[in-house]
Amino acid sequence: MQKRFTQKYLNNRGVAYLCAFVFLCVAMMMGISIGTVSVLPLDIFNIIGAEILRLPISNDVNPMHSNIVMNIRLPRVVLAGFVGASLAIAGAAFQGLLRNPLADPYTLGVSSGASVGAVLTIFLGLSIPFVGTFTLPLFSITTAFLTIIVVLFFARQIDRGMRVETIILTGIIFSSFLGAFISLMIALTGDELRQIIGWLLGSVSMRGWDYVQIILPFFIIGSAMLIANSKELNAMSFGEERARHIGVNVQKRKMMVLIAGSILTGAAVAVSGTIGFVGLVIPHLTRLLWGPDHRHLLPLSMMTGAGFLILADLFARTIISPTELPIGVITALIGAPVFAIILIKRRAEGRG
């Protein structure tokens, strides 16, 4: 009996990972193939096989296609994937840590915090020696981390119980404040205006492989830290006191999760601007589909988040082609109603 249960369990998990993986692959294929110039999936395989894996494939592919895939679509899809994965896993971790299905880098103000760092870097033309291109993400990450610390500190001052609504409210107040701060900087800037605005709206277009290189190390460090803490996140989603009684070193683990979340958010914001609601919607849907266990929720959210943002980007650039919508518009159009639904559901549960 027990064995059968375990097997069923494993099978379900297997199915979950398979679904998420297939979704991600399909999204990637669509993202690469669809556009003003369509590239057939078979060609994509050939191009990738030849260019990346250096397989001895007879190269009868159109060189223009090869160029489009390798220099425009693939880096764009990969970047969107990393950004989506970063935001989704960070969102899932914040939600678990704060026992709050409405928490995400955007609603907590972390994204805005990261933006301030990024805008400051661009505005002041900062560059740390030896770090070079990583100056931008490092600044974003630092300001992101400072923001979440300040938001949580204020929320605790307002309400020791740290209720869901209090944290969200504090996050939104900080978002507004930091947003105003960014506007101020934009008003003061002259030459860099276009760069800042384009970046603020959130986009993964025309970034190229350089940006993939920027986000990659932070993505690996951040998600590894979170996945290493998935059991602790499970425990902490029953409250910090409970987690401590079970044996979790709450102070240390909480700090790790906050730092990792900030690394992921900061790096994502640094390369793509503020893209909202991915970290809210994806973990929520993943939890609904496959349960709240963080050991699986985090990797699954990562995959579905990546796929989701790739598709969102696809919509953003095709829906009113040739004009491109900022990707943040698409995610907000989907995310805000979901946010409202979760809020209403929680209220209903609270009353019942």
């Binding site: 499970n234 425990a235 029953f238 409250g239 409970r242 009684h245 079970i246 044996g247 709240p292």
Partner: protein
């Protein structure tokens, strides 16, 4: 010694809540912490689990200062059952219970061993949650959730279990179930349980040792019976209580006394006595404090209805209690509020007398037959045979009797009854000596518990005098009457 607290002081945010608290908890004890709200119970518990540091003094866990342990090490020894566990996401029961194994797993790639699985299954079985192992926590009732978190605590394989008012949100049956379970584990597995109690009576019923706190200081640290002294509880909780024994087990119980005393206006008089062929009954508008030896409703309690039922001499029922309850129900009486007696005497032969004094009045009701009279001093010569009672005496007092007065009233009545039999020369057929009563006499003393406080009812006290006189007169008349009837029926 599992826990040892040595003069600890401390509190939250600079405010000192706990002052010089010292106590020790031994292995296998069910240890209770009591105290009014704000007395520092929860603070002490949080200090024990290391959640709040002490500002001075030492907490020793298994002979080691508690700060020498890290969080995981503490979790392997001490489990804490929360009063009200948060659950923000819909984890399954098994996922929640499995989290209890956290402290026992180590390394970056914490693998789930067979041992872990075994312990989790065992914990779920012990708490009776294995049936819904794959259900979501959100689908469960409050009591079931509590058991899930108890299973989680057990999965930690702790030596000590800390609980903060574990029965707070539970139904009566779950409260008993949980505490019975904890008690069993302390006895059988040597688990040490330390719990805060809100309910003094539950603590009195289950604890081996109790610490009573007030204003962050220890008021008493002793066995339940010593801690739960009436005067102490009144002082600490600043409320009127009365202590008495538990009716079934030797445990102290403390009951509240409501401020508003209901005035019992009604006076028990012969006017409310009703007699028909089957039974004599008296129905009071309000419950009376009663001490009796009836078939139903015997002992001490509060009763409203009193029934003396006529049964045939040949009445022979193995389970006369059941039969009597059935009879009461059939006649429309509520057995839990009724004192019921049986007599072979005809109900018409009842004799009653009403005695009015300045401060109190007494109604005495007697049915008497002396068919199986016995001399108590020679009773060893009799075989034990149960036959319907023959002298049933009811004494209703419109007054407020002390417990002593109840007992003295019974003694006085018994002596007066014996004197009647002596004066009438009723003989014990077996021994030929003068009888003192019959083999199955019953007595009932009931009081309205309002009006004059009567502390004593010995033979020469005002109440004793009336009871002695009344019982003598009524019993004498009653025996005459039943003898006359016996003669008539014999003549027929």
């Amino acid at each position: 010694m599992m826990y040892s607290l040595r003069q600890i002081n401390g509190g939250y945010g600079g405010k000192q809540v706990i002052h010089d608290v010292s106590f020790e908890v031994e292995k296998g004890q069910l240890f209770g912490i009591l105290g009014p709200n704000g007395s520092g119970k929860s603070t002490v518990l949080k200090m024990l689990s290391g959640l709040i540091p002490v500002t001075s003094g030492e907490v020793y866990l298994k002979d080691q200062p508690v700060q020498n342990y890290n969080t995981k090490e503490i979790a392997k020894i001490v489990a804490v059952l929360p009063q009200h566990a948060e659950h923000s996401f819909s984890y399954t029961v098994k996922e929640i219970v499995s989290l209890g194994r956290y402290a026992h797993q180590s390394g970056w790639f914490q693998t789930w061993s067979e041992d872990d699985e075994e312990v989790v299954q065992q914990s779920m079985k012990q708490t009776g949650v294995q049936h819904f192992a794959h259900k979501n926590i959100t689908e469960l009732s409050g009591g079931e959730r509590q058991r899930v978190f108890l299973a989680q605590s057990l999965a930690q394989e702790p030596e000590i279990l800390l609980l903060d008012e574990p029965t707070n949100h539970l139904d009566l049956s779950y409260q008993k179930e949980l505490l019975d379970m904890l008690k069993e584990w302390t006895e059988k597995k040597g688990l040490t349980v330390l719990s805060i109690f809100h309910d003094l009576n539950l603590a009195g019923l289950y604890c081996d040792q109790i610490v009573l706190l007030n204003d962050g200081k220890i008021v008493s640290n002793d066995k339940p019976n010593e801690v739960l002294q009436e005067a102490r509880i009144i002082e600490v909780y600043e409320t009127e209580v009365k202590k008495h024994g538990h009716p079934k087990v030797p445990a102290p119980q403390v009951v509240l006394i409501p401020e508003e005393k209901w005035q019992n206006e009604e006076i028990i008089t012969p006017a409310i006595l009703m007699v028909n062929e089957e039974y004599i009954t008296l129905q009071s508008a309000q419950p009376l404090r009663v001490m009796s030896s009836g078939v139903v409703g015997s002992g001490i309690g509060w009763y409203q209805t009193f029934v003396n039922r006529h049964v045939d001499k040949s009445y022979n029922c193995d389970d006369f209690y059941e039969e009597m309850v059935d009879f009461l129900i059939e006649k429309g009486f509520e057995p839990s509020e009724t004192v019921g007696m049986m007599t072979a005497v005809y109900t018409d032969d009842v004799i009653y007398g009403f005695y009015e004094m300045d401060l109190f009045s007494v109604l005495i009701v007697v049915t008497a037959g002396v068919g199986n009279a016995v001399d108590a001093s020679m009773a060893s010569k009799h075989k034990e045979v149960v036959t319907p009672g023959t002298i049933n005496s009811w004494i209703f007092v419109n007054g407020h009797l002390s417990e002593e007065a109840f007992i003295q009233a019974m003694m006085t009545a018994t002596e007066a009854k014996a004197k009647v039999l002596m004066d009438l020369e009723v003989r014990d057929k077996e021994t030929g000596t003068v009888a003192t009563g019959t083999s199955t006499d019953s007595i009932l003393v009931a009081a309205t518990q309002s009006g004059e406080k009567i502390d004593f009812a010995g033979t020469v006290t005002p109440l004793g005098k009336i009871i002695g006189k009344g019982i003598y007169e009524c019993t004498q008349k009653a025996i005459h009457k039943s003898r006359k009837r016996k003669k008539e029926t014999d003549d027929d």
